[in-house]
């Protein structure tokens, strides 16, 4: 039993968590440590195979960690797993509701599963459920991607969990529904629910309070999105020309280029350390590209995005 007199400062704590598969042959998660404050909206940002799902499964007590310890709402994930299972809400990666049951039947079922009823916590899901209500007798399998996500969120919330784990809830969903989903999350945050969400979309990172960038099972950075962007160690330039592809090839060939990546129709460029001033170096780049035939080349300094930071950190962490 959890002692109420002990006000815990963190809802989710991981220390040195490791998880391997195939008898140690595959290292999914290595030495991960972080904590999430009560009521925080925390994002786990990383691509497929980074270890996000494995971490979530350890925290929701579906998998045993091979190393380290973790607690959720003060309960140990290994020893007190039953307690955790009663107070968390979980939305796994794929749509995992019953396809041949209707919207209404699914929600009712999950309510009774947690020993509650739809009416009891209706306020919590009302904003979301009203959108589903016109389809309440439709089989869940026949809903659109965005609707399925909303239904899954309802079913994860219906028992008013203390901590909500959302594993890639917006993957494969159209941009309009994605936006609506994040709006719903913001409203949930106001209810005081701790939310851990994983996503491969870098732009969604901006909507979290704090994020952990994860790649190949290792955490590269944990902080607020703003701090991470501020920590970008050098100046970032956006270079543009009509032929973006060849512009990039040409920049890569230049000796002053430290890194250069495509970003839409622009190229994000960082330069090797040099003593000359910023303006002079900008001119150097422009001259070099003009010489290579990009008469219309433009260059400007830009604020690094989370994706810029992620790519840079990836390069640093690679062996």
């Amino acid at each position: 039993m959890k002692s109420n007199s002990n006000m815990l400062s963190n809802d989710v704590v991981l220390e040195g968590i490791g998880k391997t598969y195939a008898k140690g042959a595959v290292v999914a998660v290595h030495d991960v440590s972080f904590s999430v404050r009560p009521g925080e909206l925390f994002g786990l940002i990383g691509p497929d195979g980074a270890g996000k799902t494995s971490l979530f499964r350890v925290l929701t007590t579906l998998l045993l960690p091979d190393a380290g310890t973790a607690t959720v709402a003060g309960y140990d994930v290994v020893k007190d797993f039953r307690a955790i299972r009663g107070i968390v809400g979980y939305m796994p990666g794929r749509f995992s509701l019953y396809q041949d049951l209707s919207v209404e039947e699914n929600v009712k079922f999950f309510a009774t599963l947690f020993g509650t009823s739809v009416e009891e916590n209706y306020e919590l899901i009302r904003d979301i459920y009203v959108q589903l209500e016109p389809f309440k007798s439709r089989r869940a399998g026949k809903l659109s991607g965005g609707m399925k996500q909303k239904l899954a969120l309802c079913c994860a919330l219906i028992h008013k969990p203390q901590v909500l784990f959302l594993d890639e809830p917006t993957t494969g969903v159209d941009p309009v529904s994605r936006k609506e989903f994040w709006e719903m999350l913001q409203r949930l945050k106001e209810q005081g629910i701790t939310i851990l969400i994983s996503t491969p979309y870098m732009d969604e990172a901006m909507m979290c309070e704090r994020i952990a960038l994860i790649q190949s099972g290792r955490i590269m950075s944990i902080d607020t999105p703003e701090n991470i962007m501020r920590a970008f160690p050098t100046t970032l330039f956006a270079v543009r020309a009509a032929d973006a592809y060849h512009l990039r090839m040409d920049l890569l060939a230049e000796p002053f280029t430290e890194s250069c990546h495509a970003f839409g129709d622009e190229v994000h460029l960082t330069l090797l350390r040099d003593e000359s001033g910023k303006a002079a170096r900008q001119q150097e780049v422009i001259d070099a590209m003009r010489a290579r035939g990009h008469a219309d080349v433009e260059l400007r300094e830009v604020e690094p995005s989370i994706e810029d930071c992620f790519i840079r950190l990836m390069g640093q962490h690679h062996a």
Binding site: L63, R82, S96, D100, F109, T112
Partner: protein, 368 residues
């Protein structure tokens, strides 16, 4: 309790909404009974036989008359000549030829020694022996009815009585067999598939991350199939009584009781399979290969166990269907009661308990 009921309700919904599976679940026993009852049979019906009568006398004509009247054969008379015998077998689909030599009756009356030749197509030994036995029996009947006063010393009069199944119908053999087969198939395969489907779809994850005790997942999944199987048992018994003319000799209640235990055994088996497979496909394969085939081979329904080599006889003791089949035959066909079958029943109950314990312990509380 409320949670469990809600879960069971959900399981029923799944089953009822899956039209194709429902068709199999309920159609299977009906189809099987009808097929076995009317189409597939070991009995002899409409066999083609030919008779070559070189005697054309009272005795041969009488015997030929009796054979035709038996209703089991399609008789044609053919003109003699040994050369044509080969032809008849090869080209005319004849299964058996009866040959009466010339002077048949004379030989019988005066020398007390007459010969009749019966030649059978033994490429299907079962049919051949059944046919020859039948024809020989008819001839023996005739012999008894004609040869009387001659004082034959030491005449052994064999009186044959076929107990429980005087007409030698196939139904008493296969109806219990079909029951065992259908129950085994439905319970093992459907249960394992239902549980594995949750794993495959990912809904199992959500079920586990809830206060609902995993063991109740098992109970909830199993209840619909238990009820459906009892309905199947009832269907089979009704069909058997009214369509196949084979009523239950013993206690119907006992039969249902025993069937329930066998259903539980099969459900436990399905559960065990679900703990070791992860895809619906392999669950199905396992059920088919691992359960169905042994059931057909070792239950005693198609092939008598006593005829098998000892090692296989030992193996058959492990097949639950074998015990159930024996019990059903005892209760349904022979009309016996619990005092006669308690040993077999105990074995079945023991198997159920062991299987349930093993599968419950193997049921994973986590994903890995």
């Amino acid at each position: 309790m409320n949670q469990l009921l809600s879960f069971v309700r959900k399981e029923f919904l799944h089953v009822l909404r899956d039209r194709k599976t429902l068709l199999i679940l309920f159609g299977l026993p009906i189809v099987q009974i009808l097929l076995f009852g009317f189409a597939l049979t070991n009995e002899v019906r409409n066999a083609n036989i030919a008779i070559i009568d070189d005697a054309h006398d009272v005795a041969s004509r009488k015997i030929i008359g009796m054979v035709s009247a038996s209703g089991s054969f399609r008789v044609r008379e053919v003109q003699g000549g040994h050369a044509s015998i080969e032809e008849l077998f090869r080209n005319s689909g004849v299964k058996l030829i009866v040959l009466f030599p010339a002077n048949f009756n004379n030989d019988l009356m005066h020398t007390q020694h007459a010969r009749v030749q019966i030649i059978a197509d033994a490429s299907d030994p079962n049919t051949a022996s059944t046919l020859t036995t039948y024809v020989s029996a008819i001839i023996a009947d005739y012999q008894k009815s004609t040869v009387q006063s001659t004082a034959l010393p030491f005449a052994i009069n064999t009186q044959v009585r076929m107990l429980y199944n005087p007409q030698l119908k196939g139904a008493p053999n296969f109806v219990p067999g079909v029951m065992a087969l259908v129950l085994m198939l439905v319970c093992v395969m459907m249960t394992s598939i239902a549980i594995v489907r949750e794993k495959e779809l990912g809904t199992m994850e959500i079920l586990l991350v809830s206060p609902f005790r995993p063991i109740l997942v098992i109970v909830a999944k199993v209840v619909p199939y238990l009820l459906l199987s009892l309905v199947n048992v009832a269907t089979i018994l009704v069909l058997s009584t009214y369509v196949l003319d084979l009523p239950v000799q013993g206690s119907v209640l006992l039969l249902f009781g025993v069937s329930t235990i066998f259903i539980l055994t099969s459900l436990a088996l399905g559960l065990l399979i679900s703990t070791i497979t992860n895809s619906q496909q392999s669950a199905m394969l396992f059920s088919m290969m691992g359960m169905l085939l042994p059931t057909i081979m070792f239950s005693g329904f198609m092939f008598p166990i006593e005829n098998m080599p000892i090692p296989l006889q030992v193996i058959s003791n492990v097949v639950p269907a074998r015990w159930y089949y024996t019990i059903v035959k005892a209760v349904m066909i022979k009309g016996l009661g619990i005092t006669s079958i308690w040993r077999e029943l105990l074995v079945l109950v023991g198997m159920t308990v062991v299987l349930v314990v093993i599968s419950v312990r193997k049921f994973k509380v986590r994903l890995a």
